[in-house]
Amino acid sequence: MDVKYKTYTFHVTGTHCASCKILIEDILKEQDKIKNVQVDLKKETVLIEADSNQDPKELAQILTDKIKSNGYTLSVDKKTQEKINDNTIWQAIPIGLIFLVLFFILQKSGILNLGMGGKTTPLTSFIIGLIASVSSCLAIVGGLVLSLSAKVSQDEVNDKKNFTLFHIGRLASFALLGGVLGAVGQTIGINFTFSAMLGIAASIIMLLLGLNLTGVFSRNRITLPTGIFNFFRKIEHKTLTPIIIGFGTFFLPCGFTQSMQIVALSSGSFISGFMIMFSFALGTLPMLALLSFGSASFAHGKHASLFFKSVGVVVIGLGIFALLAGLAGLGIINPLFNI
């Protein structure tokens, strides 16, 4: 006797991204008795072929339990989309803009420009790190951390582990690369163009993630750009990814980081370079940790949807700023502002 497969169609909620299709299909295919799973993002339905005689409602419940932690639910009847969802964007835009205004007022005020005279010691590097973490470097490094954190929190459960790995990777690579700079001395120059290109790449990632977080794409049922988000989905589960991103922040364009790299370079020994860059990274840690772990706690809270959209607005703003500034730095466009 061959087994008879029964086909079920369920409605699915929570599919906010193109990559959700892959995730749901992967999880459900692992279940016993499930032969085939097909997610239709446009219709928001899941077609399941299963070797089972279960009541559709029961099966929907069992399968929902498997994917609930990722934010999806299956149901037999179509749930009417919550109306409030559409309105959160109108709250998120002003909230995001308020943060942007405060951030740029802080930059313009000049209170961050306190000079540090004398020799750079690990203590002064730490203080410079603290200042750097709220300076305009926050636009690029912080914006990237915030957008990636929010996206990771939105997509999966194990965000805290990833954030911890990111910060460890960042501290370790700053310290090690600082040490290398100190040991090697003046021979290696830090390439301006490479760093600027990396900054432009980071600002484009921020713009894409920002648009994705605000949900403007999913609302219009345009799941753009699928390829990038599929790639993102695939790599965000790897243990190495957050460490590599932490490592990459060393090369992101930030005047403070670059100055400290020069200090490490001229410090003369592995240990002194190591200490200077480590203290600097340690100084930037409180702010960056707040951004990443803060988004994790908001993401699992009551106002998650509002949080993601507000972050989206902030990140889009910072992304535009970083992109325009980066293009000006490369000499591609004329500087549009002096902030």
């Binding site: 959160t88 835009i93 002003p94 740029f104 007022i105 005279g117 364009p253 005047g255």
Partner: protein, 131 residues
Amino acid sequence: MKIFNGINKTASIIVTFGLIITLIIIFTGKSNPESAQNVEIRNGIQYITINARGGYFPNVSSAKAGVPTKLIMKTGGTYDCSASLVINSVGFKKILPQTGETEIDLGKPEAEKPIQGVCGMGMYNFLINFI
């Protein structure tokens, strides 16, 4: 959150506009135009001095064209972006020392060809006009 209805949506749009205008003001607002005497000619060489810390001061300078010119970048405890200086027209890309003076040869600048410097991340810049 259910209170958030159509009326608040209008309010939100008004607030949004206000905030966008504030951002535009922040970005286009001129920082105090310091008109310090930063150009002097010594032994036939024109020296232009610009301070770099939290931006470049003075932001706009004007100097004589057709004279051998050197730009002196002064830093004092500068760790921010203004330390990483790019002057594309003379191919200068360097991170300035935290404290000190850096001399950059500008050659004999032509009239009407202003020289612009930007910091590595691009958010600070300065302009020197040659007349």
